[in-house]
Amino acid sequence: MKNICLYFQLHQPVKLRRYRFFDIGNDHYYYDDYANESNINKLAHTCYLPTNRILLDLIKRYKGKFSVAFSISGTLLDQLKIYAPEVIDSFKALADTKQVEFLAETSAHSLISLRYPDEFKRQIAEQVKTIEETFGQVPTVFRNTELIYSDWIGENVAQMGFKGMLAEGAKQVLGWKSPNYLYCNSIEPRLKVLLRNYHMSDDIALRFGNQSWASWPLTADKFKGWLDGISDEEEVVNLFMNYETFGVNQSKESGIFEFLKALPEAVLNDKQYAFTTPSKAISKLQPISAIQEPTPTCWVDEERDVTAWLGNEMQNEAFDKLYTLTEYIQKCNDAAILKDWQYLQASDHFYYMGTKFFANGSNRAYNNPYQTPYEAFINFMNILADFAQRVKNSVACDESAEVAKLKETVKKQQAELEKLEKQLVKAGVEPKKPAAKKTTKATAEKKPATKKTTATKKK
């Protein structure tokens, strides 16, 4: 029995406007509303809505035999709510069929997993809550930004109680091994790992419409033939791709929608195949071995490493300077600031600063709003300068209020101590030696300080 596991990633960054040095401290709005609205509307009409419609039809037609999985970043959900709420409704309709699984990720589609486990977990928790509220499902499988995975990240994810995680079936990790089995994390074997079959996934996502490709045109039957070529012992073929594959990366005219419509029939006619979702695959299959990934891998670029986002001094500088704010953010309660914090962390902002392959990154990402990586960097750093100032001011305000509160408690406690001591004297008990008295006072003073640290931790 071979399982086909279809999973689609959905994420769009909130694009930043041209933010000049003169804006720092004067203007706290960072986004290009026009670009964002037109981007989301375009995607909704060329990809999200038509593909959702097809998937809904397929699920209804194959009654329980066809299923897919999605992850939708919190940042995209926010934008859909504003610009295209009908898309959210159509995802809700998919969720209601019970054949669609929503995976967890970081709400910000951030690179936080590489550095700060605490903030990483906070962002996951936030996203889990959003998914539950929107689609009525509690995700049990985790998918990190752009499929970034390492043993250590897996360990952090396992600590949060997830049963499984998706990762890239990167050549340098697998070697001779096949991605078509269930693996587990090498530190926390309870966490199962599903590896992307990049060859077959990219046949659809990258090569489908390429007319100079030897296998063009790709049909569902041809694809099924390739599946048949996989040896019978192999258990699960993980086809993970961007949702924009349908209608954007592969245009409507390429026939991608017809391919999607025909695929379930071609596959399900053969009884040895079944569609599955990550959580079903994990409960059904036994892991064949642990997978060792000491350094992070992802699904981007030939190298499948994180240098697309953290590969030059500009990207590292922007990343480091952004995350030095983490300690302030943890004390911050301002909702507007926390939203900006989420949007600024999107991995895309770092991707635009990349200088890999070509000194000029203009031909890199789809939808890249910047002419050069340097421009992307400068714009981001200007915004960050303004944002850092706001964060620090807001925390300073909060802190002085907190200090005042704590002083109040100290006063109260002192008064109480004195009262109790007087009672002691009245009761005829000698107050202890002055030295001892001092220590009690000292502990009384210390107390608020310890209280404060626990208070901040709680946040």
Binding site: R20, F21, F22, D23, I24, G25, N26, D27, N312, E313, M314, N316, E317, A318, D320, K321, A359, T372, Y374, F377, I378, M381, N382, L384, A385, D386, A388, Q389
Partner: protein
């Protein structure tokens, strides 16, 4: 006395130092009663009304347009001739080739930034820069024959051949004005073709005006020109216009140190970054701004990023018009660490805005300024030291700002123009 001047377009069309200086000089000269200027500029004709352009040279197909300009606050008019030529200041043969090769069709119009601003080009280019200079000289020869004047004045090397041609056509004395030499632009590794044109211009000239003694000594030493032929006349600066004082608000409650200029080797941007890094080790309520663009900008961004100071170091890109004055207005210190600057008008503009300035000894303007902090461009420690002092001991900055303003207000183009007039006198009535 009438001067045939081969100059450059006025600001705001071209915002480099050369255009600014030409404007200042003609303005200064307008204040001298018996001095008239016939001003010739290269200008690529674009979407203007072609019918007004007299086509005077069929063979080269170069059009020339006569204009009369009213000087804003003077009763005089300036005779102004625009020549259809794609010469722009600061280009060298390689730049020119690049500009030319970018141009695909006759009607194709594009904007090209050379670091100082955007220049629009239209139509066909001469096959090489040298061809273009040559064509310009032919036009100059004909203009010279059609007008009467007493002396020829040519600004910077691209117009020297035109000056020579005019001199050959009429026998009138030639004064060339050296705003920069190729030694300044290239940092020592001169382009032999450019050097040759410069040297021929200097040799053909009856008198040479240099913008500082620093440049004067380069002309004497590197080009082998007799010292008595070379005279220094310092530049000046236009008074601040009222409309330039409508500043953007300063949103930051921190000190700002500004570098404003082309980000090229000549301007020493890397020393500014290194000094900024040193200052940031000692204090943190300061931001550094590098305003401008240029061929070294990307390298500088990477350097600042690898020093990990990009949270306090900002690149604004090229600033124009009002933004320049807003930037100066919010600055607490202006720094010009030029490696080789023949003059350098921009610190004077900073001083007009009441900003203390830190300049390198290797800039011509250092010769005339008393109320400016001066260090060697390479002495990053001294530069950092001076920055720290101005930022932390407010009295120091106040002194420089106050007396610097007085000092710069006394530098007037009228004075420079009078000195040029005496240079003309020395060649006309010898």
């Amino acid at each position: 006395m009438k001067v045939l001047m081969f100059g450059w377009e006025f600001p705001p069309h071209i915002s480099g130092g050369l255009g600014t200086a030409c404007y200042g000089i003609t303005r200064g000269m307008a204040s001298i009663p018996d001095l008239d200027v016939l001003f010739v500029v290269p200008k690529a004709f674009g979407d203007e009304d072609k019918s007004k352009v007299e086509d005077i040279i069929g063979a080269n197909n170069i059009s020339v347009k006569n204009k009369k300009l009213r000087m804003s606050h003077l009763s005089k008019t300036l005779e102004y001739i625009e020549v259809d030529s794609k010469l722009v200041p600061y280009v060298d043969p390689e730049d020119y080739y690049r500009l030319r090769s970018l141009n695909v069709g006759e009607d194709f119009r594009f904007l090209q930034t050379d670091g100082e601003g955007k220049f629009s080009f239209t139509g066909k280019y001469g096959s090489t820069l040298l061809q273009e200079i040559h064509n310009y000289a032919i036009v100059a020869n004909i203009i010279a024959q059609e007008h009467t004047f007493d002396v020829i004045h040519a600004h910077d090397w691209l117009t020297y051949p035109a000056g020579i041609a005019a001199k050959e056509a009429t026998g009138k004395p030639l004064v060339i004005h050296v705003h920069a030499t190729d030694f300044d632009r290239s940092g020592g590794s001169v382009n032999p073709v450019v050097f040759d044109i410069e040297k021929r211009g200097m040799e053909a000239a009856d008198k040479i005006i240099t913008v500082s003694n620093l440049t004067r000594s380069i002309v004497i030493e590197k080009y082998g020109i007799p010292a008595e032929k070379v005279v220094t006349v310092y530049n000046a600066v236009d008074p601040l216009k009222q409309e330039m004082t409508n500043y953007a608000p300063k949103g930051i409650n921190e000190k700002i140190v500004t570098f404003l200029g082309r980000i090229t080797m000549q301007k020493g941007p890397e020393y500014f970054i290194e000094a900024a890094h040193k200052v940031l080790q000692k204090m943190d309520n300061v931001r550094f701004v590098m305003a401008g663009s240029g061929d070294m900008m990307e390298k500088m961004i990477r350097r600042a990023a690898s020093l990990k100071i990009m949270d306090r170091f900002h690149f604004t890109g090229f600033l124009r018009g009002q933004d320049v004055y807003s930037m100066l207005h919010m600055s607490d210190l202006y720094v010009m660490p030029s490696v080789s600057e023949p003059f350098g008008i921009s610190p004077l503009e900073a001083m007009q805005s009441n900003v203390p300035v830190l300049i390198s000894y290797q800039s011509g303007v250092a010769e005339i300024l008393t109320y400016a902090i001066k260090t060697d461009y390479w002495d990053v420690d001294a530069m950092a030291d001076a920055m720290y002092a101005v930022l932390n001991y407010p009295a120091l900055g106040e002194v420089f700002a106050k007396y610097g303003k007085e000092e710069v207000d006394s530098l007037q183009w009228e004075n420079s123009a009078r000195k040029m007039k005496s240079v003309y006198d020395s060649v006309v009535y010898k």
